[in-house]
Symmetry: C2
Subunit: 366 residues, 2 copies
Amino acid sequence: MPDDHRRRRQALRALLADRNADALLVTNLLNVRYLTGFTGSNAALLVATEDSEDEARTIISTDGRYLTQVAEQVPDLKAEITRAVGTRLIELAGGNGARRLGFESHVVTVDQHRAYADAAGNIELVRLPGLIEQLRMVKDEQEVALLRGACAAADAALSQLIENGGLRPGRSEREVARELEFLMLEHGADGISFETIVAAGSNSAIPHHRPTEAVLATGDFVKLDFGATLRGYHSDMTRTFVLETVADWQRDVYELVARAQAAGRAALRPGAAVAEVDAAARDLIDAAGHGDLFLHGLGHGVGLEIHEAPGIGKAATGTLLSGAVVTVEPGVYFSGRGGVRIEDTLVVRDEGPELLTLTSKELTVV
Amino acid sequence: MPDDHRRRRQALRALLADRNADALLVTNLLNVRYLTGFTGSNAALLVATEDSEDEARTIISTDGRYLTQVAEQVPDLKAEITRAVGTRLIELAGGNGARRLGFESHVVTVDQHRAYADAAGNIELVRLPGLIEQLRMVKDEQEVALLRGACAAADAALSQLIENGGLRPGRSEREVARELEFLMLEHGADGISFETIVAAGSNSAIPHHRPTEAVLATGDFVKLDFGATLRGYHSDMTRTFVLETVADWQRDVYELVARAQAAGRAALRPGAAVAEVDAAARDLIDAAGHGDLFLHGLGHGVGLEIHEAPGIGKAATGTLLSGAVVTVEPGVYFSGRGGVRIEDTLVVRDEGPELLTLTSKELTVV
């Protein structure tokens, strides 16, 4: 792990050199974690653009609560212990001769910036938003392994839920959600990625329905959208089942969404425009006359956050990079009747996408 | 509920008038929720200082995903549907003649502020940090009822955990944490307040230990720090048990912490300096010669956030207000051996503090 972190810091230094910055003050805690492995709730990191082999001018700062933890998690960097992590690192940057110091203007608040400007004195503070988020789009194999593990916990939990008879008429959406979350933890997850969606019957037509006391009934669509976390990395998967008997209209909409989802997955190639990936799935739903019932984008990046770059939607810009991890999740929702969404998490690779969520996507009657 | 929200907005208007602001742009989502009841993930609120009886110039903004939800949750305000919630409300404020517009400089980022300044044109943007957080310190009875409910779910879960024999030698910390969280949901919680702490044996000496596969053993201290959420409000409670047999040193440290905690609770009076509340508990631990083992502040406010104002610590400033809801949680930690923390959530009231966490604090051997 320390090698991964050092490699990521090195990649950041190349971006900083391009922008003529002497250093970057990193204050987004997820970015600090990405670059160092530190998981405490108060920290900042100073990454010097030019540094020695032992990175003597790259410094992490946190407060006294994390004295032991920072030594264990970040043995390879100097740690500065203080409450005022940001302003202290600005002073140290000045002491090291920094004249142009980048900061994360997309997360630093106006009030923090005032304090930083006071501490900076003659150092010029330069807005450098999103540099690390840009690096984070492409996952290294260490990260893919954690994402794979998170997806495996979700797969195993869903499989056991079905095996337990957990999806049956008479159970409430909330009961199903609770059992699914419990099973993810039983199967090795550290936590859940987001509030689990269990939506039965007409509720399945609401894209982001929160579980209620509504009861599952024969003939319902049951839509499950859920994920596990593992060491900070998130999985994301949606499956839609049918309870006991399936009607023709349900079979039709399911097959349509499954075909659109397969087309979206097939379009995941390095270099592909994200808007074209969206179109690959959306065109099939449009052609079936249901374009107005697919209300959201096709997918999004996933990693240390459940939603991160790149967004995959109709109006999104940019192209896919090899190593990006994204979701593909078309849906068609008939208001008042029911809806279907099918979602996987995948790695974009030169040799074709690698599926991380392995649960079957065949229409399943439980 | 709409009446509560309207009353809170009215209280905010008095603060805005004091500061000669024509309106406040509220972008902290918790503050939007506090003032309107809206729970979506993208929103801003414009509160006009001078407004008509029907609050025609006070406007909530959110995007199309929440069209139905905002109509249901905020029936009493005009809703502006757009993605760019902040800049659109600034434009509308200008149309209504606002010349000095306050913004939440403690949450608005440097990049957002740039976009706001562009949208503002001739309107002066005024830094007004923390106004609503100041109001949120004093809870109304609607809020106290939700906090009481959240605390009741935590009490019931712990009681059932003990009844189930959930604390016994051979179980791992993680198993206990999972069961406790599951039981809170079973007892009506919407979610958990924060990652549950279960710390056994020498781990109990680590103030914020994360549950591991470490196994509970006879003679261990077992420290549980956990909470439930109910409609956005958080409970917070710590209890420390002893497993099967109790040693003299354990009885001594437990009684010391319990006495300090009782003294801290007794010091909760409207008008009391928070540093004196901290001292009321800390002095007893100091007098016993263990001042250096009580490593953190005595407590903190709790409400829509698990940690909010006021902080109660040695160096904290300010006084307690009637209606504040705070924790009192002294601890003494013997590194390598074990530690005790006892924590309640209470309402500060003129007639003496009201206890919301009702689980017994007697030394309990399970």
